[in-house]
Symmetry: D2
Subunit: 346 residues, 4 copies
């Protein structure tokens, strides 16, 4: 029997990516996909890549109908939507995976400060599990509500984790210089995302503060055994998919490059979706395009200073692929089911 999947907010890039991944998932089938704006339209009319793979049409978001026909519902919506609609589904026993930001920050005040609205589902916020399998696999298996991590936070956490868990990093020295393809900005008709504006150009944005910073600090602080501070600078890169995090930190004690390599390989040996590259490597985002994997290389360019390179596809391991990974965990399926695509290169 297959898991019945609902998707709320299916017209964005994480929505169509969920459909792409689930179209071939042997243990799940999408039974409903909602969109207020496109209700009634066939999904493959909007996304022709799905022709032959999806017979659905967009429907109005109706929690009662979703609860009746879905075992799990993915929210691929802007923040503020899931916290209003998910509780009714959760109360009906449906599992929920929120690809948005509503349940990522544990502290409602922090949420309010960064997202400009009060949290409206505090009880569920408490019960939500942050869905990074590499740190919270056991809790995810038992959860009903998953806060799927942000794209930058996924690449950044996986890059810093081994060092922080080992107590090797000065927790106030962290710098995350991150670069994202334009799909990270979503499928919204905004001027800065035009080919003529974002193409053939490179720039930083939100240097004064970005919503993913408190998320990164919250999670890393859990594993570092103390408060971690990150200087986080995101950049827009003229490509479609991919995040490259270049991570800097000061080591708290002497450790040579070979031992760093051993540390990373040991930490991720059993992880199906984290790939530690050989010493001296420089992972390219295209090596993960379309694949649910984070590739990492660790460097020590001078004593005391570590540089970690971490790449993901923001729409896969940074969003929809990780959401499917969480679904597999929630339902006791093999964790890699439906996630074995090879990255598209070139």
């Amino acid at each position: 029997m297959q898991i019945r999947v609902g998707i709320v907010g299916g017209t964005g890039y994480t929505g169509v990516e969920l459909l792409r991944l689930l179209a071939r998932h042997p243990g799940a089938r999408v039974t409903a996909i909602t969109s207020r704006a496109e209700a009634g339209m066939r999904v493959d009319a909007l996304f022709p890549n799905l022709r032959g793979h999806c017979e659905l049409s967009f429907s109005e978001p109706d929690p009662a109908a979703l609860a009746a026909t879905c075992d799990v519902v993915f929210f691929a919506t802007p923040h503020g939507v899931a916290m209003d609609l998910a509780p009714q589904l959760l109360a009906a026993g449906v599992k929920v995976i929120d690809l948005g930001a509503d349940f990522r920050l544990r502290d409602p005040a922090t949420f309010a400060r960064w997202y400009g609205m009060e949290h409206r589902a505090l009880d569920w916020l408490e019960k939500a599990v942050y869905g990074l399998p590499e740190t919270r696999r056991a809790a995810i298996r038992e959860a009903q509500l998953i806060a799927n991590p942000g794209c930058y936070p996924t690449a950044t956490q996986l890059g810093f984790l081994p060092l922080l868990e080992a107590g090797l990093l000065d927790p106030h020295s962290l710098i995350a210089d991150t670069k994202s393809g334009a799909s990270g900005a979503g499928r919204a008709a905004k001027l800065p995302n035009l080919l003529c504006e974002a193409g053939d150009s490179f720039s930083a944005y939100a240097v004064s503060g970005h919503r993913h910073q408190p998320e990164i600090e919250q999670e890393l602080s859990c594993w570092a055994g103390g408060e971690v501070r990150v200087t986080f600078v995101p950049h827009l890169t003229p490509m479609i998919r991919g995040i490259h995090a270049t991570l800097y930190g000061r080591l708290t004690r002497d450790i040579d490059a070979a031992d760093l390599q051993v540390l990373y390989e040991a930490r991720y040996r059993e992880e199906p979706f984290v790939d530690v590259l050989p010493p001296g490597s420089h992972p390219a985002t295209r090596s993960v395009r379309g694949a649910n994997v984070c590739r990492i290389a660790v460097h020590q360019p001078r004593p005391g200073q570590v540089v970690v390179l971490s790449v993901i596809d923001n729409l896969v391991k940074g969003a929809s692929g990780q959401a499917v990974q969480n679904m597999n965990l929630l339902f006791g399926l093999p964790e890699a089911m439906g996630l074995e695509d090879v990255a598209l290169m070139p």
Copy 2:
């Protein structure tokens, strides 16, 4: 039991694409991949997207060893290689699929004129079957040697076929204005293919004559019931994958747009990998990125004039995907096995 696959010339883009597709093909496994230049190197060191999916290393091309360990061998090589190495494999009973051009042109003189060398395997040239399943499926099933079609010829033939088969086109009026991504030029360190040369620019090339023109004319003439002439102008587009063929022809008799649509839909109704779009559509190459499908739209902008738009991924339906499709036919497997990926969009 799985088909044992060998790949000769595995360091180009069609080679790595074969590996990507075959990595998840349930009925086949790659047992050997050769490269003179990279012999001894692990494949996933050259193509990190394959890390976790391929344990092979490149080996020297050795026909005897290939014959002993392979049921089928793909040649992903420049022209001139397969006609020297394939005969020994064929004599040993191995099936061969040549992604290069050695066995596409029936007439050795035409081959010599366009490729600048005499043909050196005339007996096998006679026996080779041109591997476009949409026109020669039955013959492919019985063949031992497949000449896998060129990328432009695939998009162009599939676009013109219904009209020519129906006798609706003036056979001397055909124009194929075709556009290819840079991967069509292969993984060769040549100046015109640099990002700085090919990027953010557009140009035609080979207007005076391109090797795919005689291939297109040969094949279309088979189905048109008479000699077909094509004005063929290829262009280089600043993208990685994808071919867009804009095809023009003069109709020999009145037929309205609705009947044209019916003609195309009827011709391809049973074809698993040709998708006729609704009237008024404009297929984008990204709708087929990574997928083994040709999407087609037919337009009639003014009476007597037809315009057909045909898109493929040059590395999939235009090369490696079609080669796997041919392999499936050769071995009696379901034709779509291993070829059900959804196109990557965005």
Copy 3:
């Protein structure tokens, strides 16, 4: 004394391109630039490339103020704006160059059919001169109101003109397969123009009919001595600037390639902004990026069939550069003044 220039609608790509070109024009200075949406904002806050080159702020469009402070006003506006605002300026003796479409089509009925509105300035429509200097230089010098040609029409006309003027083309055989960079769609926040939608992809659009087709047919018919019909298919290319027109036609009599070359070179020998390339050339759009030039190559791939390749920068020779060229003619300045930039390559 410098010409005082006003620009109405300065927030689009043709507006900023006018500012770039005029910033260094020795015979003109911009005295006013209007934008309803951005009135009060400094121009260089919106367009940082102009920092240090432009001290102006956007103002509300006010015809009386413009008439008082400008010798010439450029309209860089969508269709429908110039025909309402320009008459007041023209009545005050100001010269007007409309980069939009309001005054390009001679026949008001044709205008109404293609642009979906009645023409509201019929008297000025009659007096307007179509501003392609290569065909109407003398009339432009005497005009008060210039209809600056569209981008596709510029590339297409310059490519076909020598053949049509010489009576060498079957006037019903013309095909213009044209490709444009994304800036041709303007600086508007529309979904299809996003980097994630238009990037790394290629598609046709408006195959059933595009507004530039009647413009091309109107003008070419003037010089062909009879009605010309063009099958016109535009495409969107994943680049920022540039148009590549691939033009096809059937020759009405035998003429060899060398004579075609002579014909083109002779036609454009005195033209400062049309460059006929040597035989066998394939102009790339990047060879004209940022420059006010059209580069053309003429080919004869088979007897009776001609293929012309014509490239321009859609924002320069296809819009703002040509507008400045027209301004120079209107005011008796050297035609090339301010237009001598070398194309940016790579």
Copy 4:
């Protein structure tokens, strides 16, 4: 009278960019351009953007001929060429501007370590002046031999300088996370620079050490009043032109964001080619495309931590434009002559 200019090694991107800039420079004209590989070929046959702007052909590099016909010679060559050819020119009284690396590093041992060859012109190395006008304008005016700075070093130095000169940065805390377009790798037919390899992807390179690091450290140490150490990580960005340096440092004492802004504005107030953006800005590389300018924004995302964003066009302010600026200084011309192009945007 115009300065007579020679260019050695004119077939690379810095060579063609010199030609583009000098084509319109009122005080200079190119009299010779050399290339061993292309000797005899017209320059505009290789670089069609120069058609109509350059009548020269490439010649064999001949120091005697250059000395006879040139007042200044630019070397746009790989390292190792200028130190062999320049001395003969210098001895003849010709001025030399080396766009390569031969004369940038003061210490011959450092040069040998990073460039893998002994320095062969030690006397001239001593006399060479590092050509960053913003730090050494007076010395440049008096020099005969200019070591034109590297692209990354230009963006990085201009970004860090005000803070280091003011003693505000911990000299061991500097991190330069830099991103370059593909033209930084030069016009060489190398696999990693193909559109299919570098396009739509992002990666770091040379994390273990890059030749620009000692150059940056040497120069910054001059102005910091002590040894400066930089962690330098370059990245390849899928665009053609542009460098974006994201610079991190720890402040040695409290200073608020407003004072930082004042510091930067004061430092560069008189500089014609350094533009300090308003507080909160994020410069994009496209805002400097084709222009000889460095745009800088300074941020303080948390107390004690400064982030500087610095962008240049690597071929202009990062190479050929800066070389022309140095030429202007060497000959007493207005420093901005021929360098007033507005950046091409979009």
